[in-house]
Symmetry: C2
Subunit: 714 residues, 2 copies
């Protein structure tokens, strides 16, 4: 083969598939081969086009590719020819190494600006300039490498200045500049290249800002001064910039991850401006929030870093506006009150992505206060704003931003996660049953009715009938997470018209206690998981809504219904022995059990048949009782379960006894005629688990967008 | 303390909390202490009552407890007194060790039979008999250990026979008998004890069967012969037995786990009698199915093992009846055709749990046939029954039992599992948004309307608006799995009126390709997972509905909409450039892409704005285009996604342009006034993913209980 002559193609961290595809095409490969090149190395960046890698017999080129690498410099040094996108970083790095360079402009991405730098450098004969990949083969064929003028240091500022003057600029170099920052071992002047890129960036920002001002933008006008040389470092981001204009591949840090170990590091965050505290014309604080985490950002006027205009811009922001903050992590000597993160960001750049209206219907600070704070304020004669439940729900998108609410819905997602993972590990299969059904899904609760293509239909009150049908379909063990609908007029703290049901159904080999065993281990696993992995969230809830941690036993206490009644009786509470427990009795029994057994979580088994749904299996020894159970947390029912009747004759009889029109459930009853295994299951309300585990006083607090008899919005 | 004198309390593997609680009470502890005992060791079994473990100063007893142990014999040997439940295994084991024994009857569990053995042995002065835990303290106080008569071997059969004669028997010993089988090192005659227990069990079965016959049971009458001494080994199980009568703690094996390594092992399975093949009066085969797995069970008449009556019983079973089979695993020399498991069970016991009606509306064999089988049969002139789609859906519980359907819904559950796990690992939070909403959730599709407590409401066509609101609520990244409702009159192979939506919404830092990246990695992870972990299921589907494995690239191909149009144009298909692709064009483009890029899975980006929903973000450089994408599998759309408009003014303008009554979505639009981060997302139909990955021809095949304009049941 003789001498190795490599062509290095780079698109930086951008997506420039057309260039990669062009390079991978036969005409270009053949042209390169004819010009004496032996190897083709392609960096495809974020693109999706995969080069063929086939060298081909006719074209003797060795082709290879990669996406990103920290050693671009090595490839550049090894190359005899570089073909690059128009990023300024790539351009200057290549030129400084004295390598022949072809710059190909990405016509799809460019905003009529990107070509300018390359074109100017081409005019000075430092490189070859190609307006679009389709012209690449032709350029390679015809280029005269000897005609190129070596690039000398110092030039780029001239060029940048020149282009700056006309406010038409290339985009800043992305890939290579970033890679330099990562400390690869290239022998070129990094600081120089960085400065070049920075200058280019500055100039572009200035250009963009000027354009933004000229345009009748919907974004609030910038507060910064045009004469401020630091003005590219702050301001309102123009609309086009948040319309997917470009991919820079910058690294973002979550506010929750900011910690003292990052001291002196440069970070970039995005969040809501929760608090803006002007101190003087030369200093301001900004608290930025992302989910449950907050960090203090500091602006102090300092030459070439922060201008008074930048401080003024910061203090002009409205609360809850979305901001991008870039800066250096510092660690104050004193603990920082009022933010979760114990570091500060010394702001270098501050951009507003989206301005909030100045007068918010809810102040997040007000919505986050605990009763303790209200009491304290009252004692000191201070008047604090209280945000009522309805106001919260009417402006739920604001209310959801409080730390307690962020935590509540994280807990909710964790409850569902454990529910699924535990059951999957026990051989249960996740299913989805229809919510639109003919007839009513079970007796008792009122249903939402609707017209279904001319047929009367209703919304499922539970997946009961269908989940049982999957058991008859041979599914063995199933679970479902889905909405359930109750049209009842319940105006209580624990009823909703729509909530999320966690449902389980399983074959029973011998005894419905097999179902109780699953409940027991599932809920204990769930509680253990929350206590172990969600301490931050539980603390956050506790701060606003104080509660005692749930007491529960490693093996859940099981009492029979009769034993429960007996305990109440002994405590002087008389209950109709075959009737149901009312809310008050449940609470009282919860207290008695808690005192006696030291647990807030227990089961009552063997309920009277008369107070259970028609599909509940009667006890083998006494038809007045049933193979059923309820589970209680802090004296409130969260789970109801039972063995089901799988014998069609008995099921029909029971349905009739319960006043159900058997015709409307005939498909359901028929399901058991074709060989049905004994089975049972249970249902849990997701919101109720969260509410009771966290000791919340209202189920609306654990429902994202609650639906009750009076609320259908937001 | 002097000599150690231990009391061992055992409840076997049962739940007998009242005994444990009684033993743990002060009166009993004091009585034991006064009788010179120093240690109290309690086996609590399946109970939930936890002994206090406190020795107490007044009562100098050392208390300890455990649930289950393989070394009960050691505890028995160490004991100076045993207090036991009435299980025959525990009783005989204790007596044979010559230990003083108090048997306490569990009055809650017993069926008036359990006490008999203990009472008879008490009459012979072999033990003390206590009718209920409340009398225990008194018995301990008054018992005269010297009065006990040592028990000698050989007695139990007498006793059993005696009780058998009167058909009133104790239940077989559970805990200790089972433990013996596990091979602990007790020095007593194990085989003897086993035999005792077996005799007891036999006698009880006989008793139960006699009772079942006497009762007017709804279960089909037994086919067995009363004069058959093997009759306890087969028959219809009485109703009471499947009403949670007892917990025996037997070990069950899944049919899918049966393998050659289990040769000669005794197994117990439950499943559906898929096929019953009488060979002669002395031999029959039974194919038992559990989920996707089947096993051949063999009955061959053999003295003391299988009687001709037992074979007759087996062949009397109706197809799809639920049976329990106990037997020994054997491995035939020839491969077994027609079952998934390559072993047989030599049946020892066979009970019918639930009889199917003799004439099933669908024969599972018919419903499981592939087109290939139909073709073959046709060629050979054979007439096979075809089960139409509607018949299948009308009798879905039977249709679901086919191997292909079992596999399809396992695949479906796996798709959802990967969806969740991938997104959780990427920092997405699972949420649940309401399905009942005021107004229509977006323009375009028809909605199901209903009356919500006097207010007009509709069912959500997607969680679009609410998932975006959670992003405005600071949730960062969210996903939701839930039903979506479309009232459109689409009578196609790929539309349903209710399906399961997999929805994602996320903050965008710079570019909507961040969303595309998630789609790309998510779907590739999903396909990889299915191919890697669900080969059995995919084969099972392939057997009935043959399909080619999905071709996809490790990095998903992305083309712009214009590029797609161009490809179609070049292939001679003319498309309105700013209009949507119709089904035919989608198919054609899928074919072109597959041919050119060797992938059945790709994205089209940058759709014309005019054919996207009002909330889609226009492109920054050309308002005729949008920051949106669709994803295709095998030439059919499965995912639609985009960056959203997060600017309230632009959103209002776009809604108006799209003919939406802005008043009905005012809460939604207002959500963006309080500081809204740029964001985007996508939605996938769960049934469509399954359908297209598995190359199924109709979405009704991947919906458990499909809902279309003409179907609302089952």
């Amino acid at each position: 083969m003789g001498e190795r002559k490599e062509v290095f193609v780079t698109v930086g961290t951008t997506c420039f598939d057309k260039l990669v595809a062009a390079v991978d095409s036969d005409p270009v490969k053949e042209a390169l081969f004819r010009r004496g090149f032996t190897h083709l190395q392609i960096q495809i960046g974020r693109g999706t086009y995969i080069p063929s890698k086939v060298s081909g017999q006719e074209v003797g080129l060795d082709v290879d590719y990669f996406t990103f690498s920290t050693s671009i410099a090595d490839h550049l040094k090894a190359a005899s020819l570089v073909i690059s996108h128009a990023g300024s970083g790539s351009i200057f790095e290549t030129l400084r190494l004295g390598k022949p360079l072809i710059v190909v402009v990405n016509e799809d991405l460019m905003d009529n600006h990107q070509a300018e730098l390359a074109e100017e450098l081409a005019n000075r004969r430092h490189l070859f300039f190609v307006r679009g990949p389709q012209l690449l083969a032709q350029t390679i064929e015809s280029m005269d490498l000897e005609s190129l003028v070596p690039y000398t240091l110092g030039d780029p500022n001239d060029i940048v200045a020149q282009i700056d003057a006309s406010l038409r600029l290339t985009s800043p170099g992305e890939g290579s500049v970033k890679k330099e920052g990562e400390g690869e071992g290239a022998g070129i002047s990094k600081s120089k290249a960085k400065k070049d890129a920075k200058n280019a960036e500055k100039a572009e920002k200035a250009a963009q800002r000027q354009q933004a001002r000229a345009a009748t933008s919907s974004v609030g006008a910038s507060e910064s001064d045009e004469t401020d040389p630091l003005s590219p470092n702050y301001g309102d981001i123009p609309v086009e910039d948040i319309q997917s204009k470009s991919i820079t591949g910058r690294t973002w840090t979550d506010v929750g991850e900011l910690c003292a170990e990052m001291k002196d590091k440069n970070v970039l965050i995005r969040g809501a401006a929760q608090a803006i505290r002007p101190v003087s014309k030369k200093m301001a604080f900004l608290v930025v929030r992302q989910s449950m985490s907050t960090v203090q950002c500091v602006l102090v006027v300092s030459k070439d870093v922060v201008s008074p205009q930048m401080v003024r811009f910061a203090t002009s922001l409205s609360k809850e506006s979305i901001v991008d903050v870039e800066g250096v992590i510092s660690v104050p000597n004193e603990p920082i009150k009022g933010t979760t993160q114990q570091v500060e960001i010394q702001v270098r750049k501050l951009y507003c992505i989206n301005r909030a209206v100045p007068n918010l219907p809810i102040n997040i600070e007000d919505a986050s206060r605990s009763e303790t704070e209200f009491k304290k304020a009252e004692e000191s004669g201070e008047q604090l704003v209280r945000v009522g439940q309805d106001t919260r729900l009417n402006h739920r998108v604001l209310d959801l931003r409080t730390p307690a609410n962020q935590a509540i819905f994280e807990i909710q997602s964790q409850v569902e996660k454990v529910f699924r993972q535990f059951l999957e590990s026990e051989g249960f299969r996740g299913i989805h049953t229809p919510k639109l059904i003919a007839g009513s899904s079970e007796g008792g609760a009122a249903v939402f009715k609707l017209d279904y293509k001319g047929q009367p239909a209703c919304l499922a009150q539970s997946p009961q009938l269908h989940k049982q049908m999957t058991i008859c379909g041979g599914f063995g063990r199933v679970f479902e997470v889905g909405p359930v609908f109750r049209a009842e007029d319940s105006y209580t703290h624990r009823h909703l018209c729509e909530f999320v049901g966690l449902d389980v159904e399983m074959e029973i080999k011998e005894h419905y206690f097999e179902v109780c065993d699953i409940v027991d281990r599932l809920l204990v696993a769930m509680f253990d998981h929350l206590n172990k992995n969600c301490s931050k969230e539980l603390e956050s809830i506790n701060r606003q809504y104080p509660f005692q941690p749930l007491k529960y036993l490693p093996r859940t206490l099981r009492l029979t219904y009769d034993e429960g009644i007996q305990m109440l009786k002994e405590a002087g509470v008389e209950i109709e022995p075959m009737g149901d427990l009312n809310t008050e009795a449940e609470k009282k029994l919860g207290k008695l059990v808690s005192d006696k057994y030291n647990t807030d979580f227990y089961m009552l088994t063997r309920y009277p048949l008369g107070i259970r749904p028609f599909y509940t299996m009667p006890s083998y020894d006494n038809p007045a009782y049933s193979n059923s159970f309820d589970v209680f947390v802090r004296g409130e029912e969260i789970i109801s379960g039972a063995q089901r009747v799988h014998l069609p004759e008995l099921l029909t009889k029971r349905a009739e006894q319960c006043g159900i029109d058997v015709k409307t459930i005939s498909t359901y009853i028929d399901s058991f005629r074709y060989g049905a295994p004994p089975h049972g299951g249970f249902g849990v309300g997701l919101e109720r688990v969260v509410m009771l585990f966290c000791g919340l006083n209202n189920i609306r607090k654990s429902s994202l967008f609650p639906r009750d008899p009076q609320r259908l919005t937001p």
